[in-house]
Amino acid sequence: MDCEGTPPSPPRADGPPLLCVRTRPEPIAYALARPVRTTPLVAALLLALLGSLLCGTGLGAAGIGWPQVLRYLGAGLTGGTIGPDEVSAYTIVWELRFPRALLAAVVGAGLSAIGVAVQALVRNALADPFVLGISSGAAVGANAVLLFGALGALGVWALSVSAFVSALIAMALVYAAARTAHGLTPLRLVLTGTAMYYGFSAVTTLMVFTADRGEAARSAMMWLLGSLSGAGWGSLPIAAAAVTAALAHLLLSAGRLNALAMGDETAAALGVDAGRLRRELFVVAAAVTGAVVAVSGAIGFVGLMVPHVTRMLVGAGHRRVLAVAPLLGAVLLVWVDLLSRVLLAPVELPVGVLTAVIGVPCFVLLMRRRGYTFGGGA
């Protein structure tokens, strides 16, 4: 019997089924034949991120030459000196643009990583971080501060703290409403999150509607659409810490995320407690969404599009996806934020408007190209 052809031969009628089995495994290309190799891609993205951060710092409405920009950056990083006539330019570069570019990178990385986590959580490649309703909960808290001066005692921290705390409250509400005796199921999470999203949005709209301060309402709107205009060194540490911790946790969970994506039963058979992992992911997603939304508002579509594009590049394996997606998201958001500053300068566009302009057509294309199913059962 010729065993060279790989498919097993059909069983013969005159005895127990026989099977052609190779005794010596052929070397197979286990480093997968992919459109793009992961390690060079990560290296290229790291370089691109450095370049993007430089551009985000060097370009803008106030024309400051590259030599000065680099000198100010050097001065800021190493504690050098600048002349007294350069203070305003230095402030623009070191106090405004640079932390803003860094924050854009952190927010882009965070939204992308959480997008990956939420998609595995609800087992659907077309979900995004905001489908859980947490960002709109954060919006309620932020707007309470902006419009009614809530938590005034906290001063400049009021906005961040209020957004973060209300994100956690929203998370608790969604969790309590969605959970069943079997734990969290994908479909219930999505449905509950969506319902809560409308509920929270209604509260926000009502607040904007009843507030009599026109400028505050405008700023609330800006915040709802997402903007990094409030960025400064103060807004970086919490967001950066939350995103870094979440990313580390997710990378360490990459194998379990793969198992979860194959279904709860497969996960169980592989020794992964799907219920526990889902709770973990939910808390990580909520915490990072809260931390990110607190400093940047609700920037949509990054968490949806970036994981998608990443999977097209490197496949579905979560270790690769989680290595690439945050970098890609960081680069993307630095550029989108730069565009939002310079396109209509001196007027600043909300970042969320630009991500939506890019994201909506992409989403529709993707949805039409792929079969659209949600969840894998309630």
Partner: protein, 259 residues
């Protein structure tokens, strides 16, 4: 490795679907579960591969309580092919098989050289080495099942649990899957729809109806006309396979009691 299921009851959403099941599978034996749809076969198996917890009773592997073990330790002893095998995510075949190494790994799921070697070997063993770089979602039903068997084998388990592994496969693929399972040499517990396949391939059958075992023993003793009428509501003739001598069933029509 021997499986002992003792007094196992399983409840889903408050409904007890499996009642007081006791059965034993000796090392290397292929044990079949048959029964009508909704009889509780899948629920029983889901409890055995720990997607569900027992409401009462135990599952023991060589005497050790499976549900008291660490999850990863359990998955190194017992692998499963659940019925659902759908995913939205287009993993490659190699990635799907590599998931079988998860119970042997710590942390990030980075495959060691040894892991990769095991996966390569198991893919070759099921005759699917050429599929390694293909997308799992694009495979045919038979190919998928072979890949999932490779994943289960990559766990290097002692026990294999299969839930209707021949569903949606053509006849050659069905025989292929059962041959692969038999060749694994593992202790196997499998639910099967096709009674004639079960009669040929299983060392022992347990017939389940309404969540209880109603008959147990070698296929020859279990698959009687009386039992088929009673449990499945069909009238059947039993014949001897002309070459192997295994009992085979020819179905006539629904039995009068079922109509």
């Amino acid at each position: 490795m021997r499986i002992d299921i003792e007094g196992l009851s399983v409840a889903v959403a408050g409904n007890r679907l499996v009642h007081d099941i006791t059965l034993r599978a000796d090392s290397g034996r292929l044990i079949g579960l048959v029964g009508p749809n909704g009889s509780g076969k899948s629920t029983l198996l889901r409890c055995v591969y720990r997607a569900l917890r027992p409401a009462a009773g135990t599952v023991r592997l060589d005497g050790a309580d499976l549900h008291a073990m660490d999850a990863r330790e359990g998955a190194r002893l017992l692998a499963a092919l659940p019925q659902e095998a759908s995913t939205e995510f287009d993993f490659t075949v190699a990635e799907v098989v590599a998931m079988g190494r998860l119970p042997h790994q710590r942390g990030s799921g980075r495959a060691s050289a040894a892991d990769t070697e095991v996966c390569t070997r198991m893919l070759a063993r099921v005759g699917a080495a050429h599929l390694a770089d293909r997308g799992f979602l694009a495979l045919s039903g038979g190919e998928k099942q072979r890949v999932l068997i490779a994943r289960a084998l990559a766990q290097e388990p002692k026990v294999l649990v299969l839930d209707e592994p021949t569903n949606h496969l053509d006849i050659a693929q069905q025989l292929e899957v059962l041959a692969l399972v038999r060749e694994s040499g593992l202790t196997v517990l499998t639910a099967l729809h096709d009674l004639n396949l079960a009669a040929v391939h299983c060392d022992e059958l347990h017939v389940i109806a309404h969540g209880r075992i109603v008959a147990s023993g070698p296929p020859h003793d279990v698959l009687t006309a009386g039992l088929l009428a009673e449990v499945f509501g069909v009238r059947a003739h039993r014949v001897r396979h002309p070459e192997t001598g295994a009992p085979q069933l020819l179905f006539d029509r629904l039995s009068p009691s079922a109509s």
